[in-house]
Symmetry: C2
Subunit: 221 residues, 2 copies
């Protein structure tokens, strides 16, 4: 009736689910979409795939989220915020304890995503990593322009490395992110192939140390 060119925006999510499945349809769709995209990629998942896994109707995605893209954007925002909060918190702790230790600063950058691989946020991380390359324009634009969070690390590193020009710090931070992001989605089958099985998926703590050592070396300490 009332032309709903705007967002549907149901006032409240939902008091309780109808069946014992696991949350309301809105939340089930959220999780189904996140899982499917993490598994099959942004371009390998259709609206119908999502609702099938969520046990919902095709119309549910547009009813609850307005569009498929907005659903994906909401997932991205939620997970990215979560990751950034963890990093920022770790960075703050680091700066209080030892503000001039660049290694500790870099560790705050690397640790959260590396350790997420082990727990139930493995899916969330995979989603985030895919978003960088495959995600819809709205998401990629968000990644490109929202750099507040990286700036914090750049600032911390610059003041811990006063002898290094700031642009040099940022170049190396950029390189460090390369190592990190390239390493994230790795399935390690290729690494094992090159190394004849010598490089196998190891303990995440060990991997993080390895990463950190390489990056610190790149920074020059």
């Amino acid at each position: 009736m009332t032309q709903q060119a705007d967002a549907p925006e149901p006032a409240e999510p939902k008091p309780a689910a109808r069946s014992g499945e696991g949350g309301g349809a809105r939340e089930r769709i959220f999780r189904a979409a996140e899982w499917l995209v993490a598994e099959h990629g942004f371009d390998g998942v259709s609206t119908r795939d999502i609702v099938a896994r969520a046990g919902a109707n095709v119309a549910a995605v547009n009813y609850h989220y307005g569009s498929k893209t907005r659903l994906l954007l909401e997932i991205f925002r939620a997970r990215a915020t979560e990751l950034n909060r963890e990093r920022t918190q770790l960075l703050r702790q680091t700066l209080e304890a030892e503000p001039d230790n660049p290694r500790a600063i870099l560790r705050a950058l690397i640790e959260p995503p590396t350790l997420w691989v082990d727990d139930d946020r493995r899916i969330a991380l995979r989603f985030l990593n895919r978003a960088r390359y495959e995600g819809p324009l709205e998401i990629r634009e968000l990644i490109r322009t929202d750099v507040r969070h990286l700036r914090r690390f750049a600032d911390a590193l610059a003041s811990a490395l006063p002898e290094l020009p700031r642009d040099e710090v940022i170049w190396r931070l950029h390189f460090a992110l390369g190592v990190l992001h390239y390493n994230q989605p790795t399935d390690y089958a290729r690494l094992a192939l090159i190394s004849d099985g010598a490089c196998t998926p190891e303990d995440r703590e060990a991997l993080m140390e390895r990463l950190l050592q390489f990056i610190c070396g790149g920074f020059g300490f």
Copy 2:
């Protein structure tokens, strides 16, 4: 008539083009597809986009290449072969001149793709980089399994760094590729944003030195 479930495979490409456009339709399609994919990504380019840019008919892609995927695969193969040949040649020269200089070996890995950005192979490089993440399954599988070329670099590095265990060499080579691949598709707008304009797209030689320095540092020398 003769059921053509197999490839059409026209015996010879074509003696001459029909108009003064620039090569036969087959070649025009090749270049149009490469350019479009480099520009808009694998999932942002349709068969109709390709033939429109090539000045050909919709059926031409399937006539000349069998399918859209085979066209993309042929482009990938051609460009990847070209890149690998250049790297291998450079590596051979290096190993003859100074076989125990790991920096020179890494340079042979980094230099070709970094310098391609400047000349007309910029498009080819962009295509290759996209293929790694967005390409059809056939291409990504090829990237994953064909590691002969990386093995050569692993071998060279291992023998130049005898004190380093081979699996450690491969881990660091893996990290180095991360820096390289992450850096390739960068449009530098984001870097400029973080650095308030301090980090701008610079001379490619200078960028390569910067890359090389970071990677050598990561390796520990």
